[in-house]
Symmetry: C2
Subunit: 298 residues, 2 copies
């Protein structure tokens, strides 16, 4: 299988590495406009060769767009035009409605499978690419009825090769849930980093930062080139999630400020319920069950 | 050195384990009112024996109060009364002003050293105790001029045995900075857990939760029995920190909602500066420097 990966950063680089390792891809052509990243990707063996967009897409069995979502939005129609009739095109972006809308009436729409693997770190560039980044995680496939069955099957096969479970939903559902589970935590971390840096005594504050602080603020290290366009493309749902968060944060603040001890206990108790869900103690929420895919397809 | 640890949970248990391992303590008497925790602590070898408060404090060279801060506030005056004249008493709580005030005029005040090791996890109880939990972290000692020099020296020796660096500040400074670096991230995580659980489609949201979400919300698993009294004892500074956070979160929300692209870039860029500080790329903020203690003592 000849693979073309557009964007050799954390996500594209990690996918290319794993798909070569598992034998899913026999050859990886990388398209990368940043010359430093291109050089680094070759050095790390992420791509076998660096190609222009035209050269990379020509002859590829599968093209994976792994750029920031604003660039993906510009590229996708062109990629579909350049692609051969048998070529499967997919993308890895965190927002889906704009992309799906941009190619709704494209003559090659059925070659495209809208996807979003829920994995990543706060780092970027080819040097941030990791082995097994996707293992055991969830990949979302959106609006699958708009994709040709052979293209859908190939993308599913790719995610299984990466060790992922697959969830199927509409691009609207994906953008809504991802706003809460991924985009909101990033916004919360960015604002927390800004709030703490707002203090005059930054020096003392940061010398004292412990594991809890680092964990909560970790996502604030994430690159703006990736996250800025996500916030813009998912504006309505991200704002909704921030409004819900602001409401809960104000409740928490008021319970402390007004000495409402009973209310504060209730808020902490409810927040603690996240443990049973995240740690998989509640079978309804346990991950990697065989029934998982069924759950989303029913 | 005969050690008495009051409260054999995550903090008390971890300290007891390390101080025995390093030879700092030859005998550990544990005071623990939860019978299950007492049994577990004996089984795990955290304490050599379980004692009543009176038995535990009698004959101890050092008493460490490692209970939630509301219990510590009630216990500390009694512990100082029970302690022998040579006994050093310290505590590990995250808030310091109330404790220091409670024993300001106590005849044995100079036996007491107010301290706060900046380390922990979201888990609790003796089974949560970890080896080397404190290694490389910062311990804060407050209002050291109110402690007798021999008691201060012994507590410093204990923190060095745990592998910690020491910062010296007033209890007011400690409560203020800790509000931002530790209490605010906990409040932010609790509110984030509540915000996400507020959505009807909890099931889907939690199946999709990835590493970024888990990291940001991790502290929301922390026990209310520990955190509720911290928020109450540090009410003014925690509310201040939440107000600063709310302001920055609203700025972030408005920049997205109003499509203020330039403003959003600025906010993300400023938040990104946390990387150079937390990762120690900026020498001014590098941890574990020899100059560290000097910095706080000047």
């Amino acid at each position: 299988m000849k693979l073309c990966v557009i964007g050799l950063g954390l996500i594209g680089g990690s996918i290319a590495k794993d798909l070569k390792k598992t034998g899913f891809a026999t050859e990886v052509a990388g398209v990368e406009t940043n010359p430093e990243h291109a050089k680094e990707a070759l050095r790390l063996g992420i791509a076998d060769r660096i190609a222009s967009l035209e050269e990379g897409v020509a002859g590829a069995d599968m093209v994976i767009v792994a750029t920031p979502v604003d660039i993906a939005l510009n590229l996708l129609p062109t990629v579909l035009e350049l692609a051969e009739s048998h070529t499967t095109v997919t993308d890895m972006g965190s927002t889906k409605r704009y992309l799906v809308e941009a190619v709704r009436n494209h003559p090659c729409r059925r070659n495209y499978v809208a996807a979003h693997p829920m994995a990543g770190t706060e780092n970027s560039g080819p040097s941030a690419a990791l082995d097994n980044l996707f293992q055991g995680k969830i990949a979302i496939i959106c609006d699958q009825e708009l994709s040709g069955p052979q293209h859908l099957a190939l993308v599913e096969k790719m995610f299984h090769a990466l060790g992922m479970n697959i969830a199927y939903m509409t691009s609207d559902e994906q953008d809504h849930t991802t706003a809460f589970v991924s985009h909101l935590p990033h916004a919360a971390a960015y604002a927390l980093a800004n709030a703490v840096q707002d203090k005059a005594d930054r020096q003392i504050i940061f010398d004292l930062a412990s594991g809890g602080f680092n964990s909560t603020v970790r996502l604030a290290k994430s690159a703006g080139s990736m996250w800025h366009p996500i916030f813009e493309q998912n504006r309505d749902y991200v704002v909704e999630s921030l409004d819900v968060y602001l409401k809960h944060l104000e409740q928490f603040r008021d319970a402390i400020a007004n000495g409402e001890s009973h209310k504060l206990s209730e808020l902490i108790g409810n927040a603690n319920r996240i443990r049973s869900i995240l740690d998989g103690e509640n079978p309804r929420f346990r991950k990697n069950e065989e029934t998982f895919v069924k759950f989303y397809t029913t």
